[in-house]
Protein backbone atom coordinates (compact mmCIF):
# COMPACT_ATOMS: atom_id res chain seq x y z
CA UNK A 1 0.00 0.00 0.00
CA UNK A 2 1.60 3.30 -0.99
CA UNK A 3 1.25 6.12 1.52
CA UNK A 4 2.38 8.81 -0.92
CA UNK A 5 2.02 9.01 -4.68
CA UNK A 6 3.30 11.82 -6.86
CA UNK A 7 1.89 11.88 -10.40
CA UNK A 8 3.91 13.87 -12.95
CA UNK A 9 4.32 16.81 -10.60
CA UNK A 10 5.69 20.04 -12.08
CA UNK A 11 6.42 23.47 -10.64
CA UNK A 12 8.17 26.50 -12.12
CA UNK A 13 9.21 29.78 -10.56
CA UNK A 14 9.08 32.12 -13.53
CA UNK A 15 11.31 30.66 -16.21
CA UNK A 16 12.99 28.27 -13.77
CA UNK A 17 11.48 24.78 -13.69
CA UNK A 18 12.24 23.49 -10.21
CA UNK A 19 10.11 20.35 -10.26
CA UNK A 20 9.97 18.70 -13.64
CA UNK A 21 7.47 15.89 -14.20
CA UNK A 22 8.29 13.97 -11.01
CA UNK A 23 6.41 10.73 -10.35
CA UNK A 24 7.03 8.64 -7.27
CA UNK A 25 5.46 5.97 -5.09
CA UNK A 26 6.39 5.66 -1.43
CA UNK A 27 5.27 2.56 0.45
CA UNK A 28 3.87 2.81 3.97
CA UNK A 29 6.66 2.11 6.44
CA UNK A 30 9.59 2.62 4.11
CA UNK A 31 12.48 5.04 4.48
CA UNK A 32 13.43 6.97 1.37
CA UNK A 33 16.40 9.29 0.96
CA UNK A 34 16.50 12.20 -1.47
CA UNK A 35 19.83 13.46 -2.72
CA UNK A 36 20.91 15.91 -5.39
CA UNK A 37 23.01 19.03 -5.81
CA UNK A 38 22.12 22.43 -4.34
CA UNK A 39 19.17 23.99 -6.08
CA UNK A 40 18.02 20.66 -7.54
CA UNK A 41 14.51 21.21 -6.20
CA UNK A 42 14.56 18.90 -3.18
CA UNK A 43 13.05 21.31 -0.67
CA UNK A 44 10.53 22.42 -3.27
CA UNK A 45 9.38 18.83 -3.56
CA UNK A 46 8.75 18.82 0.21
CA UNK A 47 6.79 22.05 -0.10
CA UNK A 48 4.65 20.40 -2.74
CA UNK A 49 4.08 17.28 -0.64
CA UNK A 50 3.28 19.25 2.53
CA UNK A 51 1.05 21.71 0.67
CA UNK A 52 3.08 24.86 1.30
CA UNK A 53 3.13 25.48 -2.44
CA UNK A 54 0.76 24.25 -5.15
CA UNK A 55 2.03 22.49 -8.30
CA UNK A 56 1.50 23.91 -11.78
CA UNK A 57 0.41 20.47 -12.88
CA UNK A 58 0.29 16.92 -11.57
CA UNK A 59 -1.17 15.35 -8.45
CA UNK A 60 -0.26 14.50 -4.87
CA UNK A 61 -2.02 11.49 -3.31
CA UNK A 62 -1.91 10.53 0.36
CA UNK A 63 -3.17 7.02 1.12
CA UNK A 64 -4.73 7.04 -2.34
CA UNK A 65 -6.65 10.27 -1.71
CA UNK A 66 -5.94 13.23 -3.98
CA UNK A 67 -4.78 16.11 -1.77
CA UNK A 68 -3.33 18.33 -4.51
CA UNK A 69 -5.64 21.18 -3.49
CA UNK A 70 -5.57 20.52 0.27
CA UNK A 71 -4.01 23.08 2.64
CA UNK A 72 -0.90 22.32 4.71
CA UNK A 73 -3.15 22.10 7.76
CA UNK A 74 -5.35 19.42 6.18
CA UNK A 75 -2.27 17.46 5.19
CA UNK A 76 -0.94 17.52 8.75
CA UNK A 77 -4.23 16.04 9.84
CA UNK A 78 -3.88 13.46 7.08
CA UNK A 79 -0.59 12.44 8.70
CA UNK A 80 2.20 14.47 7.05
CA UNK A 81 4.72 16.03 9.42
CA UNK A 82 7.49 18.21 8.07
CA UNK A 83 10.64 19.98 9.12
CA UNK A 84 11.97 23.12 7.44
CA UNK A 85 15.51 23.25 6.07
CA UNK A 86 15.85 26.76 7.48
CA UNK A 87 14.40 26.34 10.98
CA UNK A 88 11.13 28.16 11.57
CA UNK A 89 10.64 28.06 15.34
CA UNK A 90 7.89 29.94 17.15
CA UNK A 91 10.61 32.11 18.58
CA UNK A 92 8.73 33.65 21.52
CA UNK A 93 7.62 30.22 22.67
CA UNK A 94 9.78 27.72 24.54
CA UNK A 95 10.88 24.42 23.07
CA UNK A 96 8.20 22.68 25.11
CA UNK A 97 5.52 25.11 23.92
CA UNK A 98 6.62 24.71 20.30
CA UNK A 99 6.00 21.00 20.61
CA UNK A 100 2.73 21.52 22.47
CA UNK A 101 1.38 23.53 19.55
CA UNK A 102 2.23 20.69 17.18
CA UNK A 103 0.95 17.95 19.51
CA UNK A 104 -2.36 19.67 20.21
CA UNK A 105 -3.20 21.01 16.76
CA UNK A 106 -1.44 18.55 14.47
CA UNK A 107 -1.39 15.43 16.65
CA UNK A 108 -4.85 15.91 18.09
CA UNK A 109 -3.61 15.21 21.62
CA UNK A 110 -5.14 16.95 24.61
CA UNK A 111 -3.95 18.08 28.03
CA UNK A 112 -1.77 15.66 29.94
CA UNK A 113 -1.59 13.27 27.00
CA UNK A 114 -0.07 16.02 24.84
CA UNK A 115 2.38 16.98 27.60
CA UNK A 116 3.44 13.38 27.96
CA UNK A 117 4.04 12.89 24.27
CA UNK A 118 6.02 16.15 24.06
CA UNK A 119 8.17 15.20 27.03
CA UNK A 120 9.10 11.86 25.54
CA UNK A 121 10.01 13.50 22.23
CA UNK A 122 12.08 16.12 24.07
CA UNK A 123 13.90 13.30 25.80
CA UNK A 124 14.38 11.38 22.56
CA UNK A 125 15.82 14.36 20.69
CA UNK A 126 18.08 15.51 23.51
CA UNK A 127 16.32 18.84 24.01
CA UNK A 128 15.73 18.21 27.72
CA UNK A 129 18.21 20.82 29.02
CA UNK A 130 16.58 23.60 26.95
CA UNK A 131 12.94 22.45 27.25
CA UNK A 132 11.85 25.70 28.90
CA UNK A 133 14.14 28.05 26.95
CA UNK A 134 12.69 30.37 24.35
CA UNK A 135 13.34 28.79 20.97
CA UNK A 136 14.43 32.13 19.50
CA UNK A 137 17.58 31.94 21.60
CA UNK A 138 18.66 28.45 20.57
CA UNK A 139 21.78 27.66 18.53
CA UNK A 140 21.35 26.56 14.92
CA UNK A 141 21.94 22.93 15.82
CA UNK A 142 19.36 23.07 18.58
CA UNK A 143 16.89 24.71 16.21
CA UNK A 144 17.38 21.92 13.71
CA UNK A 145 16.74 19.42 16.44
CA UNK A 146 13.62 21.38 17.34
CA UNK A 147 12.47 21.10 13.73
CA UNK A 148 12.74 17.32 13.99
CA UNK A 149 11.06 17.24 17.39
CA UNK A 150 8.19 19.49 16.31
CA UNK A 151 7.54 17.42 13.21
CA UNK A 152 7.51 14.29 15.39
CA UNK A 153 5.02 15.94 17.77
CA UNK A 154 2.31 16.04 15.11
CA UNK A 155 2.26 12.21 15.34
CA UNK A 156 2.83 11.82 11.59
CA UNK A 157 2.43 8.70 9.49
CA UNK A 158 4.84 10.24 7.02
CA UNK A 159 7.64 12.50 8.20
CA UNK A 160 9.58 14.80 5.87
CA UNK A 161 13.08 15.68 7.13
CA UNK A 162 15.05 18.37 5.31
CA UNK A 163 18.82 18.41 6.01
CA UNK A 164 18.95 17.89 9.73
CA UNK A 165 22.36 16.18 10.03
CA UNK A 166 24.68 18.91 8.75
CA UNK A 167 27.27 20.28 11.17
CA UNK A 168 26.92 17.59 13.83
CA UNK A 169 29.83 16.02 15.69
CA UNK A 170 30.27 12.27 15.24
CA UNK A 171 28.64 11.56 18.57
CA UNK A 172 25.67 13.80 17.82
CA UNK A 173 25.29 12.23 14.41
CA UNK A 174 25.15 8.75 15.93
CA UNK A 175 22.47 9.93 18.35
CA UNK A 176 20.47 11.48 15.52
CA UNK A 177 20.63 8.29 13.47
CA UNK A 178 19.43 6.36 16.48
CA UNK A 179 16.48 8.73 16.92
CA UNK A 180 15.46 8.50 13.27
CA UNK A 181 15.80 4.72 13.30
CA UNK A 182 13.51 4.56 16.32
CA UNK A 183 10.90 6.71 14.58
CA UNK A 184 11.17 4.36 11.63
CA UNK A 185 10.87 1.32 13.89
CA UNK A 186 7.56 2.70 15.20
CA UNK A 187 6.20 2.32 11.68
CA UNK A 188 6.52 5.94 10.56
CA UNK A 189 7.33 6.42 6.90
CA UNK A 190 10.38 8.62 6.41
CA UNK A 191 11.51 10.79 3.52
CA UNK A 192 14.82 12.41 4.28
CA UNK A 193 16.73 14.99 2.24
CA UNK A 194 20.35 14.89 3.32
CA UNK A 195 23.80 15.81 2.09
CA UNK A 196 25.51 13.80 4.85
CA UNK A 197 25.39 10.57 2.89
CA UNK A 198 26.82 8.16 5.46
CA UNK A 199 24.11 9.20 7.93
CA UNK A 200 21.40 8.99 5.31
CA UNK A 201 22.49 5.63 3.96
CA UNK A 202 22.59 4.04 7.39
CA UNK A 203 18.83 4.67 7.70
CA UNK A 204 17.15 4.63 4.30
CA UNK A 205 16.40 1.66 2.07
CA UNK A 206 15.91 3.54 -1.17
CA UNK A 207 17.45 6.66 -2.64
CA UNK A 208 16.02 9.10 -5.12
CA UNK A 209 18.25 11.49 -7.04
CA UNK A 210 17.01 14.87 -8.17
CA UNK A 211 18.89 17.02 -10.67
CA UNK A 212 17.58 20.27 -12.17
CA UNK A 213 14.11 19.36 -10.97
CA UNK A 214 14.09 16.01 -12.75
CA UNK A 215 14.14 12.64 -11.09
CA UNK A 216 17.41 11.19 -12.29
CA UNK A 217 16.90 7.78 -10.75
CA UNK A 218 15.40 5.95 -7.80
CA UNK A 219 16.46 2.59 -6.42
CA UNK A 220 18.35 0.64 -3.75
CA UNK A 221 21.05 2.57 -1.95
CA UNK A 222 23.90 0.53 -3.43
CA UNK A 223 22.48 0.63 -6.91
CA UNK A 224 22.09 4.41 -6.84
CA UNK A 225 25.42 5.13 -5.20
CA UNK A 226 27.23 3.08 -7.84
CA UNK A 227 25.38 4.49 -10.83
CA UNK A 228 27.71 6.40 -13.15
CA UNK A 229 25.26 9.28 -13.60
CA UNK A 230 25.06 9.85 -9.85
CA UNK A 231 28.83 9.65 -9.43
CA UNK A 232 29.15 12.27 -12.11
CA UNK A 233 26.84 14.68 -10.30
CA UNK A 234 28.32 14.07 -6.91
CA UNK A 235 32.00 13.83 -7.79
CA UNK A 236 33.58 17.16 -7.05
CA UNK A 237 30.44 18.43 -5.37
CA UNK A 238 30.39 16.55 -2.11
CA UNK A 239 30.48 13.03 -0.83
Amino acid sequence: MSILTLKSLSKSFGALTVTDDVSLDVMAGEALGIIGPNGAGKSTLFNLIAGNIKPDSGHVLLDGVDVTRASPMERVHAGVGRSFQIPQPFSHLSVFENLMVAAQFGGGHRGAEAECSCMSIIEQTGLGPVANDLSGGLSLLQRKRLELARAMSTSPKLILLDEIAGGLTDGECVALIKTIKSIHAQGTTIIWIEHVLHALNSVVERLMVLNFGKMLMVGDVDEVMNAPAVKEIYLGIEI
Binding site: A50, N52, S71, P72, M73, V76, H77, G81, R82, F84, Q88, P89, F90, S91, H92, L93, S94, F96, E97, N98, M100, V101, A102, Q104, F105, G106, G107, R110, E115, C116, C118, M119, I122, A131, N132, R150, S153, T154
Partner: protein
Protein backbone atom coordinates in the same frame (compact mmCIF):
# COMPACT_ATOMS: atom_id res chain seq x y z
CA UNK B 1 17.06 41.13 46.43
CA UNK B 2 13.54 39.89 46.91
CA UNK B 3 12.94 36.29 46.04
CA UNK B 4 10.17 34.96 43.89
CA UNK B 5 7.90 33.87 46.70
CA UNK B 6 8.02 37.22 48.43
CA UNK B 7 7.27 39.08 45.21
CA UNK B 8 4.34 36.78 44.53
CA UNK B 9 2.98 37.44 48.01
CA UNK B 10 3.42 41.20 47.77
CA UNK B 11 1.74 41.34 44.37
CA UNK B 12 -1.05 39.07 45.49
CA UNK B 13 -1.66 41.26 48.55
CA UNK B 14 -1.66 44.42 46.43
CA UNK B 15 -4.10 42.83 44.02
CA UNK B 16 -6.53 41.74 46.70
CA UNK B 17 -6.42 45.05 48.57
CA UNK B 18 -6.78 46.98 45.31
CA UNK B 19 -9.79 45.00 44.15
CA UNK B 20 -11.40 45.22 47.59
CA UNK B 21 -10.92 49.00 47.62
CA UNK B 22 -12.40 49.26 44.14
CA UNK B 23 -15.45 47.32 45.26
CA UNK B 24 -15.81 49.63 48.25
CA UNK B 25 -15.72 52.87 46.25
CA UNK B 26 -19.54 53.34 46.02
CA UNK B 27 -19.73 52.90 49.79
CA UNK B 28 -16.80 55.03 50.88
CA UNK B 29 -16.26 57.32 47.88
CA UNK B 30 -18.11 60.24 46.36
CA UNK B 31 -20.58 59.89 43.49
CA UNK B 32 -18.27 61.83 41.18
CA UNK B 33 -15.55 59.32 41.94
CA UNK B 34 -17.89 56.44 41.14
CA UNK B 35 -18.75 58.01 37.78
CA UNK B 36 -15.10 58.74 37.02
CA UNK B 37 -13.98 55.23 37.80
CA UNK B 38 -16.88 53.82 35.80
CA UNK B 39 -15.42 55.60 32.78
CA UNK B 40 -11.98 54.22 33.55
CA UNK B 41 -13.25 50.67 33.99
CA UNK B 42 -15.26 50.66 30.77
CA UNK B 43 -12.24 51.96 28.86
CA UNK B 44 -10.23 49.17 30.46
CA UNK B 45 -12.75 46.57 29.27
CA UNK B 46 -12.62 47.94 25.74
CA UNK B 47 -8.81 48.03 25.86
CA UNK B 48 -8.59 44.45 27.14
CA UNK B 49 -10.75 43.31 24.25
CA UNK B 50 -8.79 45.30 21.68
CA UNK B 51 -5.54 43.96 23.14
CA UNK B 52 -6.72 40.39 22.63
CA UNK B 53 -7.76 41.23 19.11
CA UNK B 54 -4.77 43.26 17.93
CA UNK B 55 -2.05 42.24 20.36
CA UNK B 56 -2.63 38.50 20.30
CA UNK B 57 -4.62 37.70 17.16
CA UNK B 58 -2.93 40.36 15.02
CA UNK B 59 -6.32 41.80 13.99
CA UNK B 60 -5.76 45.54 14.12
CA UNK B 61 -9.37 46.67 13.99
CA UNK B 62 -10.33 50.34 13.86
CA UNK B 63 -14.01 49.42 13.80
CA UNK B 64 -14.64 48.27 17.36
CA UNK B 65 -17.04 51.21 17.84
CA UNK B 66 -19.44 49.20 15.66
CA UNK B 67 -19.82 46.70 18.49
CA UNK B 68 -20.10 49.38 21.17
CA UNK B 69 -22.84 51.08 19.14
CA UNK B 70 -24.71 47.93 18.27
CA UNK B 71 -24.56 46.77 21.89
CA UNK B 72 -25.90 50.13 23.05
CA UNK B 73 -28.70 50.22 20.49
CA UNK B 74 -29.68 46.61 21.19
CA UNK B 75 -30.00 47.47 24.87
CA UNK B 76 -32.14 50.54 24.05
CA UNK B 77 -34.32 48.42 21.77
CA UNK B 78 -34.84 45.87 24.55
CA UNK B 79 -35.88 48.58 26.99
CA UNK B 80 -37.93 50.86 24.73
CA UNK B 81 -39.45 48.42 22.25
CA UNK B 82 -39.69 45.26 24.32
CA UNK B 83 -39.99 46.69 27.82
CA UNK B 84 -37.20 44.50 29.20
CA UNK B 85 -34.92 45.30 32.12
CA UNK B 86 -31.74 47.12 30.96
CA UNK B 87 -29.62 44.40 32.53
CA UNK B 88 -31.21 41.86 30.18
CA UNK B 89 -30.46 44.35 27.43
CA UNK B 90 -26.76 44.18 28.29
CA UNK B 91 -26.62 40.47 27.54
CA UNK B 92 -28.69 40.90 24.39
CA UNK B 93 -26.29 43.68 23.35
CA UNK B 94 -23.38 41.27 23.65
CA UNK B 95 -25.04 38.63 21.52
CA UNK B 96 -26.20 41.09 18.86
CA UNK B 97 -22.65 42.44 18.62
CA UNK B 98 -21.37 38.89 18.22
CA UNK B 99 -23.94 38.31 15.49
CA UNK B 100 -22.72 41.42 13.68
CA UNK B 101 -19.16 40.07 13.94
CA UNK B 102 -20.01 37.16 11.65
CA UNK B 103 -20.77 39.11 8.45
CA UNK B 104 -18.14 41.69 9.39
CA UNK B 105 -15.46 38.98 9.66
CA UNK B 106 -16.65 37.48 6.41
CA UNK B 107 -15.91 40.78 4.72
CA UNK B 108 -12.89 42.07 6.66
CA UNK B 109 -10.97 38.76 6.84
CA UNK B 110 -10.47 38.99 3.10
CA UNK B 111 -8.36 42.08 3.74
CA UNK B 112 -4.84 42.00 5.12
CA UNK B 113 -2.91 44.45 7.30
CA UNK B 114 -3.81 48.10 6.78
CA UNK B 115 -6.72 47.15 4.53
CA UNK B 116 -8.22 45.17 7.38
CA UNK B 117 -8.02 48.24 9.62
CA UNK B 118 -9.66 50.45 7.02
CA UNK B 119 -12.22 47.79 6.15
CA UNK B 120 -13.40 47.48 9.74
CA UNK B 121 -13.68 51.26 10.00
CA UNK B 122 -15.75 51.41 6.83
CA UNK B 123 -18.07 48.69 8.11
CA UNK B 124 -18.50 50.57 11.39
CA UNK B 125 -19.45 53.72 9.48
CA UNK B 126 -22.00 51.81 7.42
CA UNK B 127 -23.50 50.30 10.55
CA UNK B 128 -23.71 53.78 12.11
CA UNK B 129 -25.54 55.12 9.05
CA UNK B 130 -27.96 52.19 9.20
CA UNK B 131 -28.79 52.85 12.86
CA UNK B 132 -29.31 56.52 12.10
CA UNK B 133 -32.23 55.35 9.94
CA UNK B 134 -33.92 53.51 12.82
CA UNK B 135 -36.85 55.88 13.49
CA UNK B 136 -38.23 53.93 16.46
CA UNK B 137 -34.97 54.74 18.29
CA UNK B 138 -34.86 58.37 17.27
CA UNK B 139 -33.09 58.12 13.93
CA UNK B 140 -30.24 60.56 13.51
CA UNK B 141 -30.98 62.53 16.68
CA UNK B 142 -31.09 59.53 18.96
CA UNK B 143 -33.20 58.87 22.02
CA UNK B 144 -33.15 58.60 25.81
CA UNK B 145 -34.05 55.82 28.17
CA UNK B 146 -37.64 56.33 29.44
CA UNK B 147 -37.86 58.21 32.74
CA UNK B 148 -37.39 55.96 35.72
CA UNK B 149 -35.81 53.11 33.77
CA UNK B 150 -32.55 53.12 35.67
CA UNK B 151 -34.29 53.84 38.98
CA UNK B 152 -36.33 50.66 38.66
CA UNK B 153 -33.52 48.61 37.19
CA UNK B 154 -33.01 45.20 38.78
CA UNK B 155 -31.05 45.65 41.99
CA UNK B 156 -31.23 49.45 42.21
CA UNK B 157 -33.98 49.70 44.88
CA UNK B 158 -32.06 47.23 47.07
CA UNK B 159 -28.81 49.17 46.69
CA UNK B 160 -30.66 52.40 47.44
CA UNK B 161 -32.00 50.90 50.65
CA UNK B 162 -28.67 49.37 51.62
CA UNK B 163 -26.49 52.43 51.05
CA UNK B 164 -29.17 54.97 51.94
CA UNK B 165 -28.57 57.02 48.80
CA UNK B 166 -30.69 58.48 45.98
CA UNK B 167 -31.95 56.27 43.16
CA UNK B 168 -29.59 57.77 40.63
CA UNK B 169 -26.60 57.27 42.93
CA UNK B 170 -27.72 53.67 43.45
CA UNK B 171 -27.98 53.14 39.73
CA UNK B 172 -24.48 54.60 39.30
CA UNK B 173 -23.23 52.20 41.96
CA UNK B 174 -24.82 49.26 40.18
CA UNK B 175 -23.35 50.08 36.76
CA UNK B 176 -20.01 50.71 38.46
CA UNK B 177 -20.01 47.30 40.13
CA UNK B 178 -21.04 45.67 36.90
CA UNK B 179 -18.16 47.38 35.09
CA UNK B 180 -15.74 46.24 37.79
CA UNK B 181 -16.96 42.64 37.62
CA UNK B 182 -16.84 42.72 33.83
CA UNK B 183 -13.28 44.10 33.82
CA UNK B 184 -12.13 41.37 36.21
CA UNK B 185 -14.00 38.71 34.23
CA UNK B 186 -12.44 39.90 30.99
CA UNK B 187 -8.99 39.77 32.54
CA UNK B 188 -9.61 36.25 33.87
CA UNK B 189 -11.19 35.02 30.65
CA UNK B 190 -8.33 36.48 28.60
CA UNK B 191 -5.78 34.82 30.84
CA UNK B 192 -7.38 31.39 30.65
CA UNK B 193 -8.10 31.68 26.93
CA UNK B 194 -4.50 32.60 26.15
CA UNK B 195 -3.15 29.78 28.26
CA UNK B 196 -5.44 27.31 26.55
CA UNK B 197 -4.68 25.33 23.43
CA UNK B 198 -6.24 28.09 21.32
CA UNK B 199 -4.15 30.76 22.97
CA UNK B 200 -0.97 28.82 22.33
CA UNK B 201 -2.02 28.44 18.69
CA UNK B 202 -2.51 32.21 18.45
CA UNK B 203 0.97 32.85 19.82
CA UNK B 204 2.38 30.39 17.29
CA UNK B 205 0.62 32.21 14.45
CA UNK B 206 1.98 35.52 15.72
CA UNK B 207 5.54 34.14 15.64
CA UNK B 208 5.40 32.25 12.34
CA UNK B 209 2.26 31.86 10.31
CA UNK B 210 3.73 29.41 7.78
CA UNK B 211 5.13 27.09 10.43
CA UNK B 212 1.88 27.27 12.40
CA UNK B 213 -0.09 26.08 9.39
CA UNK B 214 2.45 23.32 8.90
CA UNK B 215 1.81 21.90 12.36
CA UNK B 216 -1.95 21.94 11.90
CA UNK B 217 -3.04 25.34 13.21
CA UNK B 218 -5.91 26.99 11.33
CA UNK B 219 -5.19 30.73 11.62
CA UNK B 220 -8.48 31.88 10.12
CA UNK B 221 -10.57 29.82 12.49
CA UNK B 222 -8.66 30.93 15.59
CA UNK B 223 -8.79 34.58 14.57
CA UNK B 224 -12.50 34.33 13.82
CA UNK B 225 -13.06 33.01 17.35
CA UNK B 226 -11.18 35.92 18.87
CA UNK B 227 -13.06 38.37 16.65
CA UNK B 228 -16.41 36.96 17.79
CA UNK B 229 -15.50 36.74 21.49
CA UNK B 230 -14.10 40.27 21.63
CA UNK B 231 -17.17 41.54 19.76
CA UNK B 232 -19.26 40.01 22.55
CA UNK B 233 -17.17 41.67 25.25
CA UNK B 234 -17.17 45.00 23.44
CA UNK B 235 -20.93 44.85 22.82
CA UNK B 236 -21.66 44.15 26.48
CA UNK B 237 -19.44 47.04 27.47
CA UNK B 238 -21.24 49.32 24.99
CA UNK B 239 -24.63 48.46 26.42
CA UNK B 240 -23.38 49.03 29.96
CA UNK B 241 -21.84 52.38 29.03
CA UNK B 242 -25.11 53.70 27.64
CA UNK B 243 -27.17 52.54 30.61
CA UNK B 244 -25.09 54.95 32.61
CA UNK B 245 -25.17 57.68 29.94
CA UNK B 246 -28.96 57.06 29.51
CA UNK B 247 -29.03 58.82 26.13
CA UNK B 248 -27.91 57.40 22.80
CA UNK B 249 -27.19 59.02 19.43
CA UNK B 250 -25.52 57.39 16.43
CA UNK B 251 -22.57 59.79 16.76
CA UNK B 252 -21.98 59.02 20.42
CA UNK B 253 -22.58 55.27 20.18
CA UNK B 254 -20.38 54.78 17.11
CA UNK B 255 -17.67 57.27 18.04
CA UNK B 256 -14.34 56.11 16.63
CA UNK B 257 -12.48 58.56 18.88
CA UNK B 258 -14.07 57.53 22.17
CA UNK B 259 -14.40 53.80 21.69
CA UNK B 260 -11.49 52.93 19.45
CA UNK B 261 -8.81 55.64 19.14
CA UNK B 262 -8.43 56.21 22.90
CA UNK B 263 -8.60 52.48 23.42
CA UNK B 264 -5.77 51.88 20.96
CA UNK B 265 -3.76 54.60 22.68
CA UNK B 266 -4.31 52.98 26.08
CA UNK B 267 -3.31 49.54 24.86
CA UNK B 268 -0.22 50.69 22.98
CA UNK B 269 1.00 52.90 25.85
CA UNK B 270 0.41 50.23 28.46
CA UNK B 271 1.89 47.38 26.46
CA UNK B 272 0.20 45.69 23.54
CA UNK B 273 0.34 41.92 23.64
CA UNK B 274 0.73 41.75 27.42
CA UNK B 275 -2.14 41.15 29.83
CA UNK B 276 -1.19 43.83 32.39
CA UNK B 277 -0.65 46.34 29.56
CA UNK B 278 -4.21 47.71 29.29
CA UNK B 279 -4.40 48.16 33.09
CA UNK B 280 -1.19 50.20 33.16
CA UNK B 281 -2.32 52.07 30.05
CA UNK B 282 -5.70 53.06 31.44
CA UNK B 283 -4.19 54.38 34.67
CA UNK B 284 -1.68 56.43 32.69
CA UNK B 285 -4.41 57.69 30.35
CA UNK B 286 -6.62 58.72 33.26
CA UNK B 287 -3.83 60.70 34.89
CA UNK B 288 -3.00 62.43 31.61
CA UNK B 289 -6.63 63.23 31.00
CA UNK B 290 -7.02 64.78 34.43
CA UNK B 291 -3.84 66.80 34.01
CA UNK B 292 -4.53 68.07 30.49
CA UNK B 293 -8.29 68.11 30.02
CA UNK B 294 -8.43 71.95 30.27
CA UNK B 295 -6.22 72.39 27.24
CA UNK B 296 -8.56 71.17 24.47
CA UNK B 297 -6.74 70.20 21.29
CA UNK B 298 -3.33 70.47 22.95
CA UNK B 299 -4.41 67.49 25.00
CA UNK B 300 -4.97 65.39 21.88
CA UNK B 301 -1.65 66.49 20.40
CA UNK B 302 0.16 65.47 23.58
CA UNK B 303 -1.64 62.12 23.60
CA UNK B 304 -0.64 61.48 19.99
CA UNK B 305 2.97 62.46 20.58
CA UNK B 306 3.29 60.21 23.62
CA UNK B 307 1.76 57.38 21.62
CA UNK B 308 4.31 57.81 18.84
CA UNK B 309 7.25 58.04 21.26
CA UNK B 310 6.20 54.85 23.03
CA UNK B 311 5.68 53.04 19.72
CA UNK B 312 9.17 54.02 18.61
CA UNK B 313 11.14 53.50 21.80
CA UNK B 314 9.19 51.03 23.91
CA UNK B 315 7.37 48.72 21.59
CA UNK B 316 5.97 46.65 24.40
CA UNK B 317 4.71 49.76 26.18
CA UNK B 318 5.22 50.92 29.74
CA UNK B 319 4.54 47.49 31.16
CA UNK B 320 7.03 45.89 28.76
CA UNK B 321 9.63 48.45 29.80
CA UNK B 322 9.02 47.79 33.49
CA UNK B 323 9.03 44.05 32.96
CA UNK B 324 12.30 44.11 31.03
CA UNK B 325 13.99 46.35 33.62
CA UNK B 326 12.87 44.45 36.71
CA UNK B 327 12.44 40.96 35.30
CA UNK B 328 9.01 40.77 36.88
CA UNK B 329 6.41 39.05 34.77
CA UNK B 330 2.77 39.17 35.78
CA UNK B 331 0.05 36.91 34.41
CA UNK B 332 2.68 35.18 32.31
CA UNK B 333 1.40 32.92 29.57
CA UNK B 334 4.40 30.60 29.67
CA UNK B 335 3.64 26.90 29.90
CA UNK B 336 6.29 24.84 31.59
CA UNK B 337 7.37 21.32 30.90
CA UNK B 338 5.97 19.05 33.61
CA UNK B 339 8.18 18.63 36.70
CA UNK B 340 9.65 22.10 36.21
CA UNK B 341 6.56 24.22 36.86
CA UNK B 342 7.12 27.40 38.88
CA UNK B 343 4.19 29.53 39.99
CA UNK B 344 2.52 30.69 36.77
CA UNK B 345 1.04 33.92 38.18
CA UNK B 346 4.26 35.82 38.69
CA UNK B 347 7.88 35.03 38.24
CA UNK B 348 11.29 36.51 37.68
CA UNK B 349 12.86 35.89 34.27
Amino acid sequence: MLDQKTINRILMAFGIVGVALLFAVPIIGSRAMVQDLFGVLTLLILAQNWNLLAGFAGLVSVGQQAFVGVGAYAMFACVILLGLDPLVGILVGGFVAMALAVPMAFFAFRLAGAYFAIGTWVVAEIVRLCFAQWKALGGGTGTSLPKGTTKNMFGVPEIKELLGVSSSAASDALTYWLALVLALATLGAGYFFLRSRMGLGLQAIRDNDEAARSVGVNPTRLKAWVFMLTAFGTGICGALLFIQITRVTPEAAFSVLDWTAFVIFITVIGGIGTLPGPIVGVVFFYILQRALSDYGTVYLIVLGSIGIIVMLFARRGLWGLFSDKTGIELLSLRQYAPETKPNPLAQIK
